[in-house]
């Protein structure tokens, strides 16, 4: 057991400040354990969001020494023995209180995405998909919606661009639908024009931050960008489509309706 110093941001949407707390820390503890100890013994009303405490639900996202992290997966022995640990809420979202922030914007983005549209079942009444064809979709579906990728995304963080880009979390959600062997919907025009695939400038901060180690940029966003390029900017592909008499949609459904 040792005594450690924590600087915790306390306040609400009107403002706040860092308060310092000294507390005992036992072997094997993670940051969330220490915050709970401070909460139980020193500041009963310290607001923290958490659930599973095993890295599976993505609730306890916060910035720890400036890094967006899950508090439940950040071990105390990853810090130097004398290091002061500074904890604050995610910067990309409005603060509710202390370490909690309002992440409802993310839920709104998810709702904008058209739902899964399954192909009809086979004659035997089954959907057949092969493991090698679902591997990449399963990678995206590991996402625990901790929104750390949204927090580090420069586009999302810069609030002026919020309406133009759904952020990395929802780009991989789109990728999980677009690459789903059973999904029958064409999502490319919306990916370009409504969800803003072009806004991502591939700095890969999201990938580096993802606690589930999802290769967000390389496996999710870049392939979506490629699909957009194929549809809109590849002259050979356009010619080939023209000769084959194959039509693809370039307008979004909203654009089609307003015509």
């Amino acid at each position: 057991m040792s005594t450690r110093t924590f600087k915790i941001w306390r306040g609400d949407s009107r403002g706040g400040e860092f308060n310092q707390y000294d507390t005992d820390v036992d072997e094997g503890m993670v940051v969330l354990d220490v915050l709970h100890r401070i909460q139980a013994l020193q500041v009963n009303d310290l607001a923290i969001r958490w659930n599973c405490k095993a890295g599976k639900c993505g609730s306890c996202s916060m910035e720890i020494n400036g890094q967006p992290r899950l508090a439940c997966m950040t071990r105390m022995n990853s810090f130097g023995p004398e290091e002061v640990i500074t904890v604050q809420p995610l910067k990309a979202f409005p603060i509710i209180k202390d370490l909690t922030c309002d992440v409802s914007w993310n839920y709104e983005q998810n709702k904008r995405i058209a739902p899964f549209k399954p192909k009809p079942r086979g004659r035997d009444g089954e959907h057949r998909m092969y493991q090698q064809d679902v591997d990449r979709v399963q990678e995206f579906r590991k996402c625990i919606e901790c929104f750390l990728c949204q927090d580090v995304c420069h586009v999302v963080r810069d609030r002026d661009h919020r309406d133009a880009f759904v952020g990395p979390r929802f780009m991989i959600r789109l990728a999980s639908l677009e690459m789903h062997p059973l999904d029958d919907d064409d999502r490319v025009p919306e990916i370009k024009k409504e969800y803003g695939s072009g806004m991502c400038n591939i700095t890969k901060c999201c990938t580096e931050t993802c606690p589930e180690h999802i290769n967000i940029t390389d496996n999710g966003i870049i392939p979506l960008k490629e699909r957009v390029v194929d549809r809109y900017y590849d002259p050979l592909a356009r010619l080939a489509r023209l000769f084959a008499g194959r039509k693809v949609r370039t307008k979004t459904r909203t654009e089609e309706q307003s015509r």
Binding site: G28, D45, A54, C57, I96, P115, R141
Partner: protein, 609 residues
């Protein structure tokens, strides 16, 4: 306080809880044209369902064609030591395959068989590979599928909102009084039906796989509204929780580790489970290492004893530790490293690999895990009608872990996720039927609404009082010491006495700070639920004088024939005290009894209708 000034929502049905059962129930209600609201203590998609790892049981027969509902039904009844509600076990076994296929229709991506169907894995107590799964994160797949489907069904989701009290009018459900966690403001739901889908109450113990949400709110609110609770003495200790480091003690290690070939060893390196095979399972369990190692590739080999039901394995681990044969940190060893190649472990058990690497600095592809029992699941809960999921309170329904009946004295792994989707849907069907025959709309009077809010704010307004966090710890100490994996009459009496004292002290809980996002206040409110549930478990355990399934009494060894004839039902008596009764079980339908008691040979030979 003026009720008309409180923010008010009107719904046909309010679902409390947004885990697998709540979401499936809400989807069904909405599909039936009902104005459907859902409240959840957490954000959407964070419920404890995400922690379910191994899979959902359904006799699809994709991996072994011989599987069918009857065998699943028989496994469930045997696992539950025949204390399950027969009709619920029947409905579950029959409907689970269709519910799993429906998830695929909504976008779920299960692991596949070589010919492209939903793959199924072996699990404790299941005769055949039966669990549809996604690696070891099946719960996340379930909740995300329901969430992403659900948000397009016109359901009103009220996130981070907690129910304080069920409101009634002449005994019928009339609404729910609640509050927003983030602002602390009160909110009123006027609704003629409520579906409880709040999960269990594992947070009454200190070593548990459950998250903070598991405070028995559903059972406690239902109890206060006059509903009956049942089978609460059956609390499942999952045999394999992490034991080291202390901060993660109790965190779940999926049964999938054993399903995929993992073995249990004591500190002498012995596979001790061979010494703990109960008579009932002996004909179907391998009794030598040679035979166990041939399974599952050799169809004539019987299942290894590591895959016995959870109650048996948990007690065996406890006995090994008590006999001094435990691991350094008071568990036993779970070894997959020496059994399977590293890349296969990482592919089949990615989140276990991740969890041990990050939290315990153990590489499970090279080193055995240390594991021990952890409070995992409530088989008991709110008593419901098998077909409609309705309670004895008109308009109140329950499904998922907070409802009782499907699992009897012990739940099989994998039967929980399928429980959620089968009975979540049936609760929705039940609500629609109830509403179609509802005459006048019940309406809650202002007095009960105001009293619910006043009781909650008293905790904030008191000058001084008990620390809610420490009160919770005291309660956990009582339960863990006296209502553990093995129990005795005197200890259970002690628990009831001590809980009574805590109840008195809980009248004086104090949460400092304002009502805005105040976890101390939330904790104080949860403690009230936990006290009710804890007392109900202790009292039910006291009057069941036998050892059956997850309930082990040192002073009453073994199953007793006469105890198979009743379920323990708990309710609030007319004097306001908890009343616990043995309620006789009706005879099972002949057809179901024939299946349940058949030998495997008879059942698989087609000799049972």
């Amino acid at each position: 306080m003026n009720v008309s000034e409180i923010q008010t929502f009107e719904h046909d049905v309010l679902v409390i809880g947004a885990g697998g059962a709540g979401l499936r129930a809400a989807i069904e209600c909405s599909a039936r044209g009902l104005n459907t609201g859902v409240i959840s203590k957490s954000l959407l998609g964070k419920a404890h369902t995400v922690m379910a790892e191994g899979g959902m049981a359904a006799s699809l027969g994709n991996v072994d064609r011989r599987d069918n509902w009857k065998i699943h039904f028989r496994d469930t009844m045997r696992g539950g030591k025949f204390l399950n509600q027969w009709r619920m076990a029947e409905l579950h076994a029959k409907q689970a395959p269709e519910r799993v296929r429906e998830l695929e229709e909504w976008g779920a991506v299960f692991d596949r068989t070589p010919d492209g169907l939903i793959s199924q894995r072996n699990f404790g107590g299941h005769r055949y590979p039966r669990l549809a799964h996604v690696g070891d994160r099946t719960g996340l797949e379930l909740i995300r599928t329901l969430q992403d489907h659900g948000v397009h069904q016109g359901i009103h989701f009220h996130m981070e909102c907690t129910a304080l009290r069920l409101l009634v009018d002449g005994g019928r459900i009339a609404g729910v009084a609640g509050y927003w966690r983030d602002t602390g403001r009160f909110v009123l739901f006027r609704t003629s039906t409520v579906i409880m889908a709040t999960g269990g109450g594992g947070k009454a113990w200190n070593v548990t796989s459950n998250s903070w949400e598991y405070t028995g709110d559903g059972a406690a609110l239902a109890y206060e509204a006059g509903a009956e609770l049942m089978d609460l003495e059956f609390t499942q200790f999952h045999p394999t929780g992490m034991v080291w480091p202390p901060s993660v003690r109790g965190t779940l290690v999926t049964e999938g580790v054993r399903g995929d070939g993992g073995i249990l060893l004591n500190n002498k390196g012995e596979r001790f489970m061979f010494n703990y095979i109960p008579k009932r399972f002996a004909p179907e369990t391998a009794d030598t290492i040679i035979e166990a190692d041939k399974w599952p590739d050799d169809p004539s080999a019987r299942r290894p004893p590591e895959l016995l039901t959870r109650d048996v394995v948990a007690r065996a681990i406890r006995a090994e530790v008590q006999a001094g044969r435990g691991s350094p940190h008071g568990g036993v060893f779970l070894d997959i490293a020496s059994r399977r190649p590293a890349d296969s472990i990482k592919r089949k058990l990615p989140s276990m690999y991740h969890q041990f690497k990050e939290l315990a600095e153990v590489d499970i592809t090279t080193t055995p895990m240390e594991v021990g029992p952890t409070l995992h699941y409530f088989m008991g809960g709110i008593r419901v009608d098998a077909d409609t999921q309705q309670t004895n309170v008109p308009g109140l329904f329950a499904c998922g872990e907070c409802a009782a009946g499907l699992h009897g004295a012990n739940r099989l792994g994998g039967n929980s996720l399928s429980d959620l989707i089968v009975f979540g849907r049936l609760a929705g069907v039940g609500v629609a039927a109830y509403l179609s025959e509802l005459g006048t709309t019940p309406r809650a009077d202002d007095a009960q609404i105001i009293s619910a809010y006043r009781e909650a704010t008293d905790i904030l307004n008191r000058e001084t009082g008990e620390n809610p966090y420490l009160m919770h710890e005291a309660l956990q100490d009582v339960m863990s010491t006296n209502v553990g994996i093995v129990r005795t009459g005197p200890e259970l009496q002690t628990a009831v006495e001590q809980l009574k004292e805590l109840k008195v002290r809980a009248q004086n809980l104090k949460a400092p700070g304002t009502s805005q996002y105040n976890p101390g206040w939330h904790e104080a409110l949860s403690v009230k639920s936990l006290l009710i549930v804890g007392e109900a478990v202790a009292r039910a355990a006291y009057i069941r004088e036998e050892s059956r399934g997850a309930h082990t009494r040192l002073d009453f060894e073994g199953e007793r024939e006469e105890c198979a004839r009743f379920n323990v039902v708990t309710k609030k008596g007319p004097d306001g005290e908890m009343q616990v009764d043995k309620v006789e079980r009706p005879d099972p339908p002949k057809k179901l009894a024939a299946i349940g008691y058949a030998t495997l040979e008879e059942l698989e030979g087609g000799q049972v209708e």
